[in-house]
């Protein structure tokens, strides 16, 4: 118990330090220091890319949109309230860009084509269904079902299952209560489940 307390105290103080350091970096950015902005970009680039990839599903577009979001963030950094979390603010820019992209998409690259099939195949093997055709069917069904979700439903699944954020972190990023996160997750997963069942066969999941 004491060990757990000490770990959580360490985490808290590290977070506080990170926040303080980040605040100083942002103040430098607000004074026009591009190199300071580089520190923020390097800190969040991977998370940003993978979130965009979760929305968009193709490497090139995810890279482009995540970078574009950083460019927009830099241009608007003077309006940013330094007492808030940078990533929460940046995320709003990124998600708007991704939602716009999805709205205009229709003919863009095949969604979720960058997701690793191997992992999905493994699950299917564990589930004792060894038939290759069935496996491939599940892989493409999951991809298809995810891409057919509304952006808001995709978003919550991306943040929880692909990004592995806690409910608290998601609530912070989406600026809503934890209860809303849970109910949004339920509706998104319920829709995904229904779509998958329709695509595959009854009670496949």
């Amino acid at each position: 118990m004491a060990a757990a307390d000490s770990i959580s105290t360490t985490n808290l103080s590290r977070q506080a330090f990170d926040f303080k350091e980040e605040k100083e970096t942002i103040i430098k950015c607000q004074n026009g220091d591009k190199q300071a902005f580089g520190i923020l970009v390097k800190k969040y680039m991977q998370r940003s890319y993978y979130i965009a990839l979760g929305f968009i599903g193709s490497h090139e577009n995810a890279l482009d949109l995540s970078q574009e979001a950083f460019v927009k963030a830099f241009r608007a950094i003077k309006r940013f309230d330094v007492d808030k979390r940078f990533f929460t603010w940046y995320y709003q820019i990124l998600r708007n860009l991704c939602f716009n992209f999805l709205r205009d998409r229709a003919k863009h690259a095949r969604p979720f084509s960058e997701f690793d099939d191997h992992e999905i195949n493994r699950i299917r093997e564990d589930s004792a269904a060894s038939d290759d055709v069935e496996r491939e069917e599940l892989v493409s069904a999951v991809r298809q079902a995810l891409s057919e979700l509304k952006p808001k439903d995709q978003e919550i699944i991306v943040l929880k299952d692909f990004q592995d954020l806690s409910y608290k972190e998601i609530a912070e990023v989406l600026d809503c209560p934890i209860g809303t996160v849970m109910s949004r997750l339920y509706y998104a997963r319920a829709t995904l489940k229904t779509k998958l069942e329709r695509m595959l066969y009854d009670d496949a999941i």
Partner: protein, 152 residues
């Protein structure tokens, strides 16, 4: 109505259970739900399996060079944006000045036929009207655009 809210409660707890985010009390409440109702138990198993599928659907990692050059690409885009802005402002100033000088020289040139003068003036006038019209349309669309709060 009562059943509906019980179901809603179950669904909220269900999410917490499959994501491992329930407190001890909530966990007890959830176990009561699934122990007393076979339908809930079945639903729990289905969502657990769904979670397995989505959690393991990991994206491929991009080549390492992507991260090495990422910031440089953002930096270039920031710089290029400023470059385009300056280029556009400069072009507008030069084009306006050039247009003005052209009209001035056409009007004051005694060697040009009046029909040529008229043609050039109409051309310049037409271009100006088109330009203003496009600008006005963009501004009008922006005011009425339901997505204007969405950053593009």
């Amino acid at each position: 109505m009562m059943m509906q809210s019980e179901k809603d409660r179950f669904h909220i707890l269900l999410m917490g259970a499959i994501d491992g985010e329930l407190s001890e009390n909530e966990n007890r409440e959830f176990e009561q739900f699934i122990n007393n109702t076979p339908e809930y138990q079945k639903e729990f198993k289905q969502y657990k399996k769904l979670k397995e599928v989505t959690t393991h659907m990991r994206p491929k990692s991009p080549p390492v060079e992507v991260w090495d050059t990422y910031w440089m690409m953002v930096y270039n885009k920031i710089e290029r944006g400023i470059g385009w802005l300056l280029f556009t402002i400069g072009s507008v100033i030069l084009l306006t000045y050039g247009g003005f000088k052209l009209v001035e020289s056409v009007v004051s040139n005694p060697d040009l036929l009046w029909i040529v003068k008229g043609g050039i003036l109409l051309l310049m006038g037409g271009l100006s009207v088109l330009l203003v019209s496009v600008i006005r349309e963009r501004m009008f669309t922006y005011k009425k655009d339901p997505y204007k709060e969405v950053i593009r």
